[in-house]
């Protein structure tokens, strides 16, 4: 039989998430390395990062752990699962960890050095991150909003070049007037490919 349990997810929980996300402690730090940004974002919504930093688990155990967290309500897709697993197994494994390394995902280098350079040159990174909301939406959020929208590349290119306001909130995005058509195409394609 299938019991009809009331689902405990509530408005309270949603509001609590918002409060916690705003208020999460900045003092805890994870070892820098590929995937650290994603780990920080996904894990500390529900628990402090100490749950990770004090752990030393095998890759298989981390895999089971991530599976369990997903069952407990953590939101990440299979690609993110793989990134998180690589990160945790490398830096919080039972074997000695490699030295800290840049978080390539957060640096935007995931799409290649060209994209990373463009994000820096045109100051996109000041307000946007791949997977978390800073001043503006994350690149992933943008990609999700426009998934399957054939007109999105053109509109997005326009907004990047001339600036935009009111789509994601009241804070305006300044124009990137100096960007070339080729650069714009590269950026738009990269942003919309984020998952």
């Amino acid at each position: 039989m299938r019991p009809e349990f009331a689902f405990a997810s509530t408005a309270a929980a949603i509001a609590a998430a918002a409060v916690f996300t705003l208020a999460r402690a900045q003092s805890e730090s994870l070892v820098s390395g590929p995937g650290v940004g994603l780990a920080r974002e996904k894990c500390q919504v529900c628990h402090e990062l100490g749950h990770i930093t004090r752990s030393r688990l095998s890759r298989e155990e981390w895999s089971d752990n991530l599976h369990r967290m997903r069952q407990r309500g953590a939101q990440f897709d299979d690609r993110e699962f793989a990134i998180l697993l690589d990160y945790l197994a490398a830096y919080y494994g039972r074997d000695p960890a490699p030295p800290p390394a840049p978080d390539t995902l957060a640096a935007g280098a995931q799409g290649g050095d060209a994209v990373a350079g463009l994000l820096q040159t045109h100051a996109c990174s000041a307000c946007h991150a791949p997977d978390k909301r800073l001043v503006g939406p994350s690149f992933r959020e943008v990609a999700q909003r426009y998934a399957g929208d054939a007109g999105a590349p053109r509109r997005l290119a326009q907004r990047i070049r001339t600036g935009s306001q009111g789509v994601w909130g009241p804070v305006p995005m300044p124009p990137a007037a100096a960007i070339s058509d080729a650069e714009l195409a590269t950026l738009v394609e990269w942003v919309l490919s984020q998952k």
Partner: protein, 404 residues
């Protein structure tokens, strides 16, 4: 959805809006401690901790977990302020006047009780009973197992509980022929909307056991909020997670409940596994705790003057059955001497043991305690490692200093 649940949701939604507005205001004047913002409909950790003993050691804030070390457990009955805290989600702020308990599933008639109705409907039972988190003692496992970092002696307590027998409720509802398990659901909200509710089931033999209670009092006072106010299950001797807090729904099932708190946690390999490996497919659900004891006096590294006898005290328990013998060794386990056991109290209460040590030399002296149960089990030298670090019941060792 029952009435109290709906009320809870409505109330929580209203509070949520208030709290968000408050949060927006708070941005003008940054709070000193950002994490102290109380999630709506819940009790902030700071408020929970105010009622707790200063000896409490908190292992995590989200979810809140904490316990006192063994030498702060030197009581026959665990006081409320020393009872361990193990939340899976947030501590809800429930209204006893609005709260209802519903019994449904494989029953002849679905029943629903307010807390006051429950108190009048069935015989009220008070019993002292042991609760211990499945992961209590986890940090003693080598290599470290995954989960809350309970100290080797943390995560248990044995208060007095007052409530009604779960068996009486189930009989009143009438069990169908295929009724085999009873699942309890707690009203604790998750931090994210995708968090599933805490639901665990127990087999009917334990549900019908006369000490399994739906309780509203702990040591003669209403349950503290963090310990399940206004209603909780007390499934004595079994892993603490079976004793669902903030209980609002009991569902009678024909099989164990399927859910993350049954299938992803609280499982243990049927046979010991190689340390550091993952959970084997033939794992089973954790139920009753194996035999265990702790030395609650003296405290580690306590100093004693001269050659006067040193009293040694502790508590011993087992999930099912009873403790038959506790032994003390003062020579690192070469020889064992029997401790005196207090008379057996309530079926699931821990038993106090005492031993008098006559110092034979100055310096560092150690006491080891090990308990035996009526099935011939004894605390192991090294409890078997398991992936989630459950059931640590290794021998507790306390050293003191005897000075001239």
């Amino acid at each position: 959805m029952d009435q109290s649940r709906r009320k809870f949701l409505e109330g929580a939604a209203g509070l949520g809006a208030l709290a968000l507005a408050g949060g927006a205001l708070a941005q003008d004047k940054p709070a000193a401690k950002p994490d102290s913002a109380p999630p709506p409909g819940t009790i902030p950790n700071e408020v929970v901790k105010r009622e707790k003993n200063p000896a409490m050691e908190y292992h995590s804030e989200r979810p809140l977990t904490g316990s006192v070390p063994a030498h702060h457990h030197d009581f026959d009955v665990t006081p409320n302020d020393r009872m361990f805290i193990r939340n899976n989600l947030l501590t809800p702020d429930l209204d006893a006047a609005q709260h209802r308990l519903t019994i449904r599933g494989l029953v002849d008639r679905e029943l629903s009780f307010s807390v006051e109705e429950l108190k009048k409907a069935f015989p009220v039972i008070t019993t002292q009973a042991m609760l211990e988190c499945a992961g209590s003692g986890r940090t003693a496992f080598v290599p470290r197992a995954s989960g809350t970092t309970w100290s080797p002696t943390g995560g248990m307590g044995c208060p007095m509980w007052t409530g009604v027998r779960l068996a009486d409720l189930l009989r009143a509802a009438g069990l169908k022929a295929n009724a085999a398990h009873v699942a309890g659901q707690g009203g604790d909200p998750g931090i994210v909307p995708t968090a599933p509710p805490v639901i665990r089931s127990i087999p009917m033999r334990k549900a019908m056991e006369e000490h399994t209670l739906v309780a509203w009092e702990m040591n003669g006072t209403p349950l503290p909020k963090v310990h399940g106010f206004p209603l909780r299950l007390v499934v004595p001797g079994w892993v603490g997670s079976a004793s669902i807090k903030w209980l609002h729904t009991l569902s009678v099932l024909d099989a164990p409940f399927k859910g993350t708190y049954m299938d992803d946690s609280y499982r243990i390999p049927r046979y010991p596994v190689e340390p550091g490996t993952r959970m084997p497919p033939d794992a089973v659900s954790t139920e009753d705790w194996p035999v265990k004891s702790i030395i609650t006096y003296p405290a580690p590294n306590a100093r004693f003057k001269g050659s006067a006898p040193i009293p040694v005290r502790g508590r011993a328990w087992v999930g099912e059955g009873h403790v038959t013998r506790v032994e003390i060794s003062v020579d690192e386990g070469k020889t064992w001497q029997r401790a005196r056991l207090a008379p057996r109290g309530d079926k699931y209460a821990w038993r106090t043991f005492t031993f008098e040590y006559q110092p034979e030399r100055f310096g560092y002296v150690t006491f080891l305690a090990r308990a035996w149960d009526d099935r011939g089990n004894v605390q192991p030298i090294v409890p078997p490692w398991n992936p989630l670090g459950y059931f640590w019941n290794g021998i507790h060792r306390v050293g003191v200093i005897v000075e001239a």
